[in-house]
């Protein structure tokens, strides 16, 4: 069997061929075209011209078939092209004349292929990036009543919200004008909103708590003069974000102790008045990065395609379509497991499970303020997720490699995770658990070996497995301390 596509031989993939040398393809069964069986017709398919010959056609005959013959018939039927139907124009003018006869079109068309190839070569080294270019014709959109695609109301063109105050004189009412308005000194919103967001990130709550709404329906600022001062400072610095972060983290307010007396807590439980330093559970991404950093596993490479760290099997499959290209999650090997969390691959229908547990959003709708919940599922992540177990193991190895007696190793872990020495009482509590772990793994080498097998990285062969297992648990304790999880 030979197949031709638009008169040219096409490649054929033979899925099934049980025909013996003496067999014939003659059969009583119906031949289906464009479908596999009775039930699954190809959608949106129509047949224009079906002919049956009693002999095999030669290649040059086939080449004429799709357009040349048809065009001849069309011309014979109706010589005046102005009276042709759209279909006839398509076949005779577009496909036959421009496609096969007109030299200029043919040469241009072949040049398209060359350009495509060149473009492909250009994009081979990295994904193409989308950029915005203004269209030559004005864009428009129809207002849909309650979003109903069938209930079109008026047509609208680009503009800016009417309520924006202090519109710069002469600025066009488009994106360009909006940009000018945003940065103009006459309106404070952009600067206030920006500094409030950064403040929120650093202090855990914004000066205006409803960081996504600084309008009349939002919360009132706790320190309006400060907010204004910061906004002006930020704007006058030339919108220098890095400098602004430095301003906040070096401030006396930020550097206060987070400790609170009962009286302070009773008067200002949410620390709205900033009487003490910020204290809040860090975001999932920060936690994962911190654990990897403490373990010495973090790969600090910048940029590049997304990576896929550990994730239990089955999570994507439960929601994906069978034909989806993100149906099966295959974790990376090597450095992809240890990159910063900002590089983690994001499937919005099923975000990274361990990050979602820590309130990461699906990224489908804008999130100006992430919630901060406190669930037992989070403890399961930091205790049992292979990412965290491996980090604990590597951190434990670092403590062992640092040498010294048990007390010195604990001090090492305290510095690596809490950045401070232990109190004697803390040391005593940790020694107690460390002894329990030692007893366990000294007596159970199989358990030690099993624990060491978690994660892709290999254990340090110079260290005794039982000791590594023991210190994996001690390190895991540090990684699960409130003080480690909390800013």
């Amino acid at each position: 069997m030979k197949l031709y596509l638009n008169g040219k031989p096409a490649e054929v993939e033979v899925r099934l061929d049980t025909l013996g040398p003496k067999d014939s393809i003659r059969t009583d069964a119906a031949t289906h075209v464009g479908r596999r069986d009775d039930f699954n017709p190809m959608r949106e398919t129509r047949f224009q011209d079906v002919r049956i010959y009693r002999r095999a056609l030669a290649a040059d005959e086939v080449a004429r078939l799709p357009f040349e013959d048809l065009a001849a018939e069309i011309v014979a039927r109706q010589p005046d092209p102005r009276k042709w139907t759209t279909d006839a124009k398509f076949v005779a003018a577009d496909r036959f004349y421009l496609g096969e006869k007109d030299a200029e079109t043919i040469s241009l068309a072949s040049a398209v292929a060359a350009h495509d190839t060149a473009f492909e070569a250009l994009t081979r080294d990295g994904p193409a990036s989308l950029i915005a270019i203004e269209k030559t014709t004005p864009a428009y959109s129809d207002i849909l009543k309650r979003g109903d695609y069938y209930a079109r109301l008026e047509r609208v063109e680009p503009g800016v919200p009417r309520f924006l105050s202090n519109w710069p004189a002469g600025a066009p009412r488009n994106r360009r004008g909006l940009a000018e308005w945003l940065l103009s000194a006459e309106q404070p919103l952009m600067a206030r909103v920006s500094v409030n967001r950064i403040w929120q990130e650093v202090f855990g709550r914004g000066l205006v708590e409803s960081a996504g709404d600084l309008g009349v329906m939002g919360d009132r600022p706790s320190h309006p003069e400060l907010l204004d001062w910061l906004a002006v400072e930020f704007r006058e610095s030339g919108w220098d974000v890095k400098k602004f972060y430095r301003l906040l983290v070096t401030s006396a307010t930020y550097r206060q102790s987070a400790s609170a007396t009962a009286a302070q807590l009773a008067k200002d439980p949410g620390n709205k008045l900033l009487g003490r330093g910020p204290r809040y559970r860090m975001d999932g991404e920060m936690l994962r990065d911190s654990a990897l950093a403490a373990a010495g596993l973090l790969v600090e490479k910048i940029g590049g395609p997304s990576v896929k760290p550990y994730q239990p099997p089955g999570i994507w499959e439960e929601v994906a379509m069978p034909e989806s290209n993100t149906k099966t999650y295959v974790p990376d090997k090597g450095e992809g497991l240890y990159r910063r969390s900002v590089y983690t691959f994001w499937k919005r229908a099923s975000p990274p499970a361990s990050l979602e547990t820590f309130d990461a959003t699906s990224r489908e709708v804008v999130c100006t303020r992430r919630a901060r919940t406190n669930t037992p599922l989070q403890a399961f992540v930091t205790m049992n997720d292979p990412q965290w177990v491996e980090a604990a193991r590597k951190l434990g190895e670092r403590a062992l490699q640092a040498g010294g007696r048990m007390e010195q190793r604990l001090e090492f872990l305290a510095r690596a995770t809490l950045a401070r020495p232990l109190t004697p009482r803390e040391g005593a509590a940790l020694v107690k658990s460390a002894e329990a772990f030692r007893t366990k793994y000294a007596a159970d080498p199989a358990a030690a070996a099993a624990l060491l097998a978690v994660g892709e990285s290999k254990p340090d062969p110079a260290l005794a497995p039982a000791e590594v297992a023991q210190w994996t648990l001690v390190a895991s304790q540090f990684l699960n301390l409130d003080e480690f999880l909390t800013k």
Partner: protein
């Protein structure tokens, strides 16, 4: 964590508006009076929400921090909405939502249309279609041949409901059901339609039904999730649509109200199990050490958050025992397996999930949603809907029966249905044995049972083609209003300030509780 950290619980002290150095909202110039009133109303409510809602996970942590139904309700006796106490005495305490994703045809299930047998392969009259926009999948069809159900119907139960022969088991309990034949929606494609019925809005980002119940009512069992979702293994791999976490997300509510996905197999809750090499004793010692240090930290720092952390780890440890108990079916009596069928032993099947749903209901999980996919029968409907019915009929019947005999059906609402209906004409070629059906938003069937629903009833009627509704239309928001009503919640009052609106599950258009189907 303090109540104030909840993003939706703004704890503006009303007093500070009046006594503080800032002008009160009343003193602001250029603010219309109506807006000022609105502000005042909101402020009042925020106070109550601030006290009522905790940004905590399993509500168990909340008890520790003083969340208490009585204390709250007493404090806010004059408030419009005391948190976590129903507006009025509920009929349903729990719900199990059997979500037939992809949308089963109403013709082969619950909406018997005998007239269609007289019109086989005739074209759907244009007057019936009435300008309905079709999907790209059938819009180009030259004709719309009417396809009656290939499956026979018979009357069952005292109520004499017509039930398709595909559901011989469910037919036995049809007297428990209230069959709704007049659901309708605006959406004609899966994604907007499924979002609309799971979250009340066809755009993503809204809280799902289960999240609203969690938000409005809290947990029954504070040691288990309030809202659980389970996806089921598919009996076949055609006619499948994608699901996504957005169907059970908490939207603009705190993430604690999102569903916890209960997974099939040995790790039903993500990372529940200790890694190999760590046994229960080691874990206990590890957590004891952690909590010892956390207690010392609390003495120095004083942050109540730290106590919540201690509680969080203790609860995690308890869950390592209680969740396996939940998923361990070995103590189920033999009668269970007779009832649910052998597939209930295979984790992740629909039958398994139905049995799990009963166990969750017994233990006080507020809302369980089971998804069963591949009902999207555009083609090969006769063969594939049979497969789906065979997969789901007995377990559904078993769940209803089991709930009833254990006294749980009384206050457990069971809901069955998809996201829209299907066409009375065939998508693709109609033959004597085969046809397909395209999406149809104008009418579809669902059923509800238990939890205060009037048993053995039907509600709503469609025309002879099940194309248009002729009596008692039920929009999805009416369905939602009714479900909330059964839980003792007034859908107009269960709202959260979001996006400049009092955002509700039922949205901004009027929704009506369907009184006629309430017991």
């Amino acid at each position: 964590m303090t109540p104030n950290d909840n993003p939706f619980a703004r704890d503006h002290d009303l007093c500070s508006d009046h006594c503080g150095e800032h002008p009160t909202v009343w003193d602001l110039p250029h603010v219309p009076l109506g807006l000022k009133r609105e502000w005042l109303r909101l402020e009042t409510r925020r106070q109550f929400l601030g006290k009522g809602v905790q940004a905590l996970g399993w509500a168990g942590l909340a008890t520790l921090l003083g969340r208490n139904g009585v204390a709250q309700a007493a404090e806010s006796a004059m408030a419009t909405r005391p948190a976590l106490v129903p507006n009025f005495a509920p009929k349903a305490k729990r719900a199990i939502y059997l979500f037939m994703a992809g949308s089963p045809s109403q013709f082969e299930t619950w909406d018997y249309k005998p007239m269609l047998y007289d019109m086989v392969d005739k074209d759907l009259p244009e007057s019936v279609r009435g300008g309905q926009v079709l999907t790209g999948m059938t819009a180009s069809q030259a004709r719309f041949p009417i396809a009656p159900s290939i499956y026979k119907f018979a009357q069952h139960g005292k109520a004499g409901h017509w039930v398709s022969e595909l559901f011989p088991h469910t037919a036995k309990v049809v007297d428990e059901l209230c069959i709704l034949k007049s659901l309708h929606t605006e959406a004609i494609n899966h994604e907007p339609a499924i979002l609309q019925i799971t979250t009340g809005n066809m755009f993503p980002g809204r809280p799902s039904l289960g999240s609203w119940l969690s938000y409005g009512l809290g947990a029954i069992n504070e040691e288990l999730p309030t809202f659980v979702v389970m996806t089921s293994k598919m009996p076949h791999r055609t006619n499948v649509q994608a699901l996504s976490n957005r169907l059970w997300s908490s939207g603009f509510l705190s993430p604690e109200h999102a569903a916890v996905a209960l997974r099939a197999g040995s790790d039903p809750v993500l990372h529940l199990n200790n890694p190999k090499g760590i046994d229960g004793d080691v874990r206990r010692a590890m957590i004891s050490g952690v909590n010892d240090l956390n207690r010392q930290l609390f003495e120095r720092v004083g942050d109540p958050e730290i106590n919540a952390r201690i509680h969080q780890y203790e609860m995690a440890f308890r869950m390592q025992t209680s969740v396996p108990e939940l998923t361990d079916f070995s103590n189920e009596p033999a009668s269970t397996w007779d009832l649910y069928g052998p597939k209930a032993k295979e984790p992740g099947t629909y039958a398994y999930n139905c049995l799990m749903a009963r166990r969750l209901a017994e233990r006080g999980v507020r809302f369980t949603q089971i998804f069963l996919r591949s009902w999207d029968q555009h083609s090969n409907l006769p063969k594939n809907i049979r497969l789906m019915a065979e997969e789901s009929d007995q377990p559904t019947y078993a769940l209803l029966t089991d709930l009833k005999r254990r006294g749980l059906l009384d206050d457990t609402l069971v809901i069955w249905g998809g996201e829209f209906g299907r066409t009375c004409y065939s998508q693709g070629t109609l033959t004597a044995e085969n046809y397909g059906r395209d999406h149809h938003p104008r009418c579809f069937s669902m059923w509800m049972a238990g939890g205060g629903i009037k048993p053995g009833t039907t509600f709503g009627e469609t025309d002879d083609f099940s194309y248009n509704i002729v009596k008692d239309p039920v929009h999805i928001r009416d369905l939602h209003a009714t479900i909330l009503h059964l839980f003792g919640l007034d859908h107009n009052r269960l709202s959260v300030k979001f996006g400049g609106l009092d955002s509700r599950l039922t949205g901004v258009l009027p929704a009506q509780v369907i009184d006629a189907i309430l017991a």
